[in-house]
């Protein structure tokens, strides 16, 4: 069994998987990897189930030492990863020999990297998932919702790569399939029911102006700064909030709601970003600018299905 001892970590380094489902009616949030595309590629490289538990590392500051030889995979942001001072390219599988140290230092491109191990990292599944939700005290290594800390030991569910599922034939994600982290991404937004209740000017501005990511951002949501949007409809009664909802509170500055969002709420919404758009957003730094592109549900659904086929 592969074991990694954590030498450095931050509150933003957490065990995550595909998320918690079938419990939203109980007020339990979704959780899960913010960049689900990168999580899947990291698992794909090792032949894991694509939603297996990985370490989500935001902004770096994470380091582990192998307690025995193991095979790992990295996908997502380039956080200047090194093994004993030698650079490790993202989107690859690599060996970490006993005593060797893997360090993810700081962002060079993107924000969140995903570290996978054979068979997935072991965590205490709570309500069907290992996803760490600090606020709800659910998930993580011991099930209590804690971020990873120095001194903790991570166990991989598989012994060494090849004994769990066969690792993929390729040791890297083909260039053509790797997501591109654009400087100013255009994010697809499925138009929602309240869209007609925003002022005409607001609607134009929502889709034709730049939005800047505020530093007020966490796994619950990201605030955006830009033109003030005016909602003119009736006050809303709290209702379910989907992943990626772009809600507009009275100050007119939208908030994109992410995996750890509250389950119900009463602010009007422009709609919801698509899962692919959310994966891109998860790699944007505070201060980055984005734009929204309006799409309809059917089209977004077809694009999502096409994307899912790339993992076979």
């Amino acid at each position: 069994m592969s074991q990694l001892r954590i030498e450095a970590s931050t509150a933003l380094c957490q065990l995550q998987d595909g998320g918690r489902f079938g419990v939203r009616h109980l007020g339990v949030t979704q959780g899960g990897a913010l960049d689900w595309v990168a999580m899947r590629w990291a698992n794909w490289l090792l032949g894991n189930a694509l939603d297996s538990a990985v370490v989500e590392i935001a902004l770096g500051g994470f380091s582990v030492v192998a307690e025995e030889d193991c095979m790992l995979a990295l996908a997502g942001a380039d956080l200047d990863a090194q093994v004993d001072g030698q650079a490790v390219a993202p989107w690859t599988r690599f060996n970490l020999g006993k005593g060797q140290q893997l360090t993810l230092r700081q962002p060079r491109q993107g924000v969140r990297a995903y570290l996978a191990a054979p068979g997935g990292f072991q965590g205490e599944a709570v309500l069907g998932s290992c996803s760490t939700v600090v606020r709800e005290e659910l998930g993580g290594v011991d099930g209590q919702g804690r971020a990873l800390v120095k001194g903790e030991v991570l166990h991989a569910a598989g012994a060494i790569a090849g004994q769990v599922g066969a690792p993929n034939r390729r040791s890297h994600v083909p260039e053509t399939l790797r997501p591109v982290y654009a400087d100013k991404p255009v994010l697809d937004l499925v138009m929602g029911a309240q869209i007609g209740d925003f002022s005409g000017t607001s609607l134009f501005e929502a889709f034709n102006r730049d939005w800047t990511l505020d530093s007020r951002a966490d796994r619950m949501g990201i605030r955006l700064l830009g033109p003030q949007l005016m909602y003119q409809g009736a006050p809303m009664i709290s209702e379910g909030i989907p992943l990626g909802a772009v809600q507009v509170p009275p100050d007119g500055q939208p908030i994109v709601l992410l995996n750890d969002r509250q389950t119900i709420g009463g602010y009007p919404r422009l709609g919801a970003l698509t899962p692919l758009a959310l994966a891109q957003l998860a790699q944007c730094m505070p201060g980055a600018t984005i734009r929204f592109r309006a799409v309809v549900q059917d089209e977004a659904w077809r694009e999502q299905q096409a994307c899912l086929r790339c993992w076979g």
Binding site: F21, G27, R135, V190, I237, L243, I264, T274
Partner: protein
Amino acid sequence: MTPRIEVVAVDSLMVRLFDAIDEGNMPWILAASQRLRDVFGQQLIDLVPSYTTLMVQFDLAPGEARRRILHALEGLRPDDGKAGRRHEIPVWYHASVGPELPVLAARSGLSEAEVIDVHCGRDYPVFALGFAPGFGFMGLVDERLATPRLSTPRKRVAAGSVGIAERQTAAYPAVSPGGWNLIGRTPVRLFDREREGYSLLQPGDRVRFVSVGHAEFINLGGDDSPQEAQA
């Protein structure tokens, strides 16, 4: 009742059954919830009922999901009241664990004992769970108890705290920040990962609060550590 089906996300639709909060909505929401679960089966990812709506998240093409929703709602009748459970939840009403008990009394012109009687005087349907795991939004409380949220929410509300916000009432399952007016505390565990169904309360259940004394509260496992009065 003419339900509307609205787009909310790539894989989710909102079923809007009503336009206003009403206790009479719940039997319909419950019935629709059951029908939707039956019709979607394995293709249902999540179903989030709230005061007037049900959000359906599915693993299906949206057109097919829409057809299934329409099918599920065909000839819908309100639930006959057998589906939801009724809970009696013991509460120790006391200013040390419910600092706003005297505040509510002063506002309403009632004595503290009368405030307690009024709060315990009716069954409250659980409209929705949200805010935190197992946190049930219930109501509606008697208009005399209606009180706006604290202008500054507390950073730390003790687990089990029972509160009022406007005409809604709820109990906090775990320690959390919160802005509701606290009037007492229950020893009951509202969310327990070892329990079948995890949450004591489910949407559509009914709750009757029952006043208990300090000794019984402690016997039932209650923690009487005083609640800090302010944020």
